[in-house]
């Protein structure tokens, strides 16, 4: 039986793969402040003027996460991509190469299964799995619940692997320091134009699987041009998480964020 976070009425499940047994869960620890919302009655008593961002609640929870990360000197990075772009492989490799130098912890987001958390756990890294059920993205509340189970060490780097999806995760602030989009050369090079919201929200694009370039129709320069058409400030590193190409640039980027 899994370590299940029983709070909330939804179907989100938080699991520590090291401790798959029932445990108590409460809302002790870091505190979530509510967002500051202006509400006042309009001239007509029947009309309430709200002028409230639809995602205000998530944004307030994300701010609480951000404050907590700052207090704990934790660098949180939100990794997003379509399914199969190589997020988990990049994490495995990153942990293998950097864990002696930097304390790392991982939040894994998937609709179902503990498969990715098991892969991360096999590297010896601290990890918690969040299963979103029908949900297509992580939100700030799920991450807060995951953090209570994960208890990342002060001063560590927290790598949050979002649900594989190039649409919804871009809209939901988790309180991270930066969003990173991972794209692989086995995808269409025009993806940045098809999913502009995601590539605009990201600070860094990791172009993965460059070892496969000889076998696929993919023009990396054209892809990067498209990506910068959507987001002129986007930084880009080209890597192969399996073969190791370009990973030093990714690690340098991570070190620079601290």
């Amino acid at each position: 039986m899994c370590t299940t976070c029983g709070c909330g009425s939804d179907e989100v499940v938080v699991t520590d793969p090291d401790h798959r047994h029932d445990h108590d869960h409460n809302h002790g620890g870091h505190h979530h402040g509510e967002g500051h919302v202006h509400v006042h009655d309009d001239r007509s008593a029947r009309t309430l003027v709200l002028e409230q961002a639809v995602l205000a609640k998530n944004d307030a929870l994300a701010d609480a996460n951000r404050s907590w990360f700052a207090e704990q000197r934790i660098l949180a990075v939100n990794l997003m991509s379509s399914p199969g772009a190589g997020k988990t492989t990049l994490l495995e490799r990153t942990i293998t190469d950097l864990s002696a130098e930097l304390p790392l912890a991982v939040v894994e987001g998937d609709q179902e299964t503990l498969l990715d958390a098991d892969r991360i756990r096999a590297t010896g890294c601290r990890v918690v799995q969040i299963n979103t059920g029908a949900g297509c993205h992580l939100d700030a509340d799920m991450v807060a619940r995951g953090l209570k189970v994960l208890e990342p060490r002060p001063g560590s780097i927290l790598l949050i692997e979002n649900v594989g999806n190039l649409v919804c995760p871009a809209m939901f602030d988790l309180g991270e320091r930066a969003k990173v989009v991972i794209m692989s050369v086995t995808e269409g090079q025009d993806k940045p134009l098809k999913y502009p919201q995601m590539f605009r929200a990201a600070e860094l694009m990791v172009l993965n699987k460059v070892d496969l370039l000889p076998y696929v129709q993919f023009d990396p320069e054209q892809c990067i041009t498209y990506a910068r058409q959507v987001n002129p400030k986007l930084e880009v590193v080209s890597v192969s998480a399996t073969r190791g190409d370009g990973l030093d640039a990714w690690y340098d980027w991570l070190r620079d964020q601290r």
Binding site: C136, D139, V167, C168
Partner: protein, 110 residues
């Protein structure tokens, strides 16, 4: 598909504000660059309001066009979508409007 989550966020935020009063109308501003498809929000709204103070209410979506200022030539341009370029060819645009996703107001039953 995130429109379902967006619609539920609207309903939750409004329900929190109105308590047990019934809602007649909700107006929502959706920018063309917000990444939210208004038609999908309309579609989910009737389903997702069932059993809430918003059940049976009318949803109004105010369409906000995208506008940006070009950081290269200083011109103000209309943006149909996020991959548009300035007429000077630059992609370095400062978005002025169109990213809105805001609950403007709600009208309560008398």
């Amino acid at each position: 598909m995130h429109e379902m989550a967006i619609t539920e966020s609207v309903i939750a935020a409004v329900s929190e504000k109105v308590g047990d009063r019934r809602v007649q109308r909700v107006s929502l501003a959706v920018g063309r660059l917000s990444g939210v498809v208004a038609e999908s929000v309309y579609f989910y709204f009737d389903l997702a309001t069932e059993g809430t103070p918003l059940e049976g209410s009318k949803l109004e979506i105010i369409d906000i066009p995208g506008r940006a200022r070009c950081r290269s030539c200083g011109a103000e341009v209309e943006l149909e979508d996020m991959i548009a370029l300035c007429t000077c060819g630059s992609a370095d645009l400062e978005i002025l409007s169109g990213e809105e996703l805001t609950i403007k107001e709600v009208e309560l039953e008398a």
